[in-house]
């Protein structure tokens, strides 16, 4: 019954969306990189989602549906108003990644097990993620952090799956390159014996 009474609509919407507010807020923080903007983005997302709740098909992925609205609001209202400002240019990161993979076997360290990182996560990962150019950051955010499928993430970003795949690939490489120095110093990259 898609056109139930308003009270019922509110209750059904809240049951679906309110438990996801934390996930949406943290995603909004990583997209906008500012807590005031994230607050506005979440509020606008909930409002749009509620108004278009008739379009949501019960049984499909509610999180992906809300992310689609969140990202659309973000693109329309924020993306154009913000300049990209990562500390290291992407081309420089790409070169670093190539240097890492091309080094002669046995001459350098290997990417160790992440179990070695322990319980407490260093803020560097979050900072490196936020510094990625937006298109790559969004791909990593929705696939790796929020664990959407390629198809769901492509729908959120309104791009073909092939585009999502290449942005994800680039985003992961750049992220690795920007964390490499830190990981080496912290002992998360270890010499190969």
């Amino acid at each position: 019954m898609p056109h139930g009474d308003p009270e019922d609509k509110r209750a059904r919407f809240e049951a679906l969306a309110l438990p996801l507010m934390g996930v949406l807020y943290n995603t909004a923080l990583r997209l906008t990189r500012a807590s005031e903007d994230a607050a506005d983005l979440v509020q606008e997302t909930f409002l749009r989602a509620y108004r278009t709740f008739e379009n949501f098909r019960p049984g499909t992925n509610g999180k992906a549906w809300l992310f689609t609205i969140l990202y659309s609001v973000f693109v329309n209202r924020w993306k154009r108003a913000r300049r990209e400002a990562g500390p290291i240019p992407p081309d420089e990161l790409e070169e670093r990644f190539q240097r890492f993979v091309e080094v002669a076997p046995g001459a350098d360290e290997e990417a160790g097990k992440t179990e070695a990182w322990g319980e407490r996560w260093p803020p560097e990962v979050e900072a490196a993620l936020r510094a990625l150019p937006e298109a790559f950051r969004a791909a990593v955010l929705f696939v790796d952090v929020q664990e959407l499928s390629y198809e769901e993430a492509a729908a959120v970003l309104r791009c073909p799956v092939g585009t999502l795949r290449s942005r994800l690939f680039r985003g992961r490489r750049l992220l690795f390159a920007s964390l490499q120095e830190y990981a080496r110093e912290a002992g998360y990259l270890r010499p190969v014996n």
């Binding site: 607050a39 509020q43 909930f46 108003a81 990644f97 990417a111 803020p123 990962v125 664990e147």
Partner: protein
């Protein structure tokens, strides 16, 4: 068959994510057995994917955000009770879209297009107002409690027959703004906004006028008129669906010289 001169590239990622079919997977794995470069690349991808997947710090939702969401839903419930038919909204947004197309050629169209869209949404009863009030002082008090960094004065168009309907802290093309909405007895609507910026950033194509030493930029199309002017660090915009010349006169009446 892959050779070492023919690295699988982003198929390493698909292998990592379990998206390769069995036959192709076997080929890529055979390549990995003989290619240290690709083994290192796969290890790097696996490492970084695990690093973000393992869990980034999650912040709690601030109470003010949760309260803002609840208020927004309440506002939508109220608006839904007096919502107009969908085709009215469609017509209004189509008028705004024409303006968007017209000003896009000039570059940096965001503010002009967004101000037109906001008026269209208000005409379609599709713009929830943070506070519904006819009292400009009450609206000023609400906005003073927001995070806007500039002082706001809510225009009073009572003498010109426009009644304040409400408004609040808002966003115009990503910029923090204060928004006030008005309506007259004939159903004409005016939406005013203030935001930090310069009118010199506005797109080309505006009609320029000067009145009492103040510069005005005027955009019009499809029955909508937008008048911009500068007050200190703040840009004011008045959007109207009424008579174009009347819209300009409303702006003249309220503009204050810097």
């Amino acid at each position: 068959m892959l050779t070492t001169g023919n690295h699988p590239g982003d198929e390493l990622q698909q292998l990592l994510d379990g998206r390769l079919e069995a036959e192709r997977r076997a080929q890529v794995e055979a390549h990995l057995a003989v290619c240290a470069r690709c083994r290192r690349e796969l290890a790097a991808l696996r490492w970084v994917t695990a690093a973000v997947r393992k869990g980034l710090p999650e912040r709690d939702v601030p109470a003010a955000v949760a309260a803002g969401v609840a208020a927004a839903l309440d506002g939508a419930d109220r608006a839904a009770r007096r919502r107009r038919p969908a085709w009215v909204i469609g017509l209004a947004l189509a008028a705004a879209a024409v303006l968007v197309v017209l000003v896009t050629r000039g570059g940096a169209p965001d503010v002009v297009a967004a101000a037109a869209e906001e008026l269209a949404r208000y005409r379609a009863a599709d713009l929830p107002l943070q506070l519904e009030t006819g009292d400009p002082r009450a609206l000023e008090r609400l906005i003073a409690r927001s995070t806007l960094r500039f002082p706001v004065r809510v225009f009073d168009f009572g003498m010109m027959g426009y009644r304040l309907a409400g408004g609040g802290a808002h966003r115009l093309a990503g910029r923090r703004s204060a928004l006030f909405a008005y309506e007259d007895a004939g159903g004409r609507r005016v939406v005013c906004q203030m935001y930090e910026g310069r009118i010199t950033e506005l797109p080309a194509g505006a009609e320029r006028r000067e009145h009492d030493g103040i510069q005005f930029r005027i955009y019009r199309t499809a029955g909508l008129t937008l008048v911009f002017w500068q007050e200190g660090d703040v840009v004011c915009v008045l959007a109207s669906d009424g008579d174009p010349e009347e819209a300009v006169q409303l702006a003249y009446a309220k503009a204050i010289k810097e």
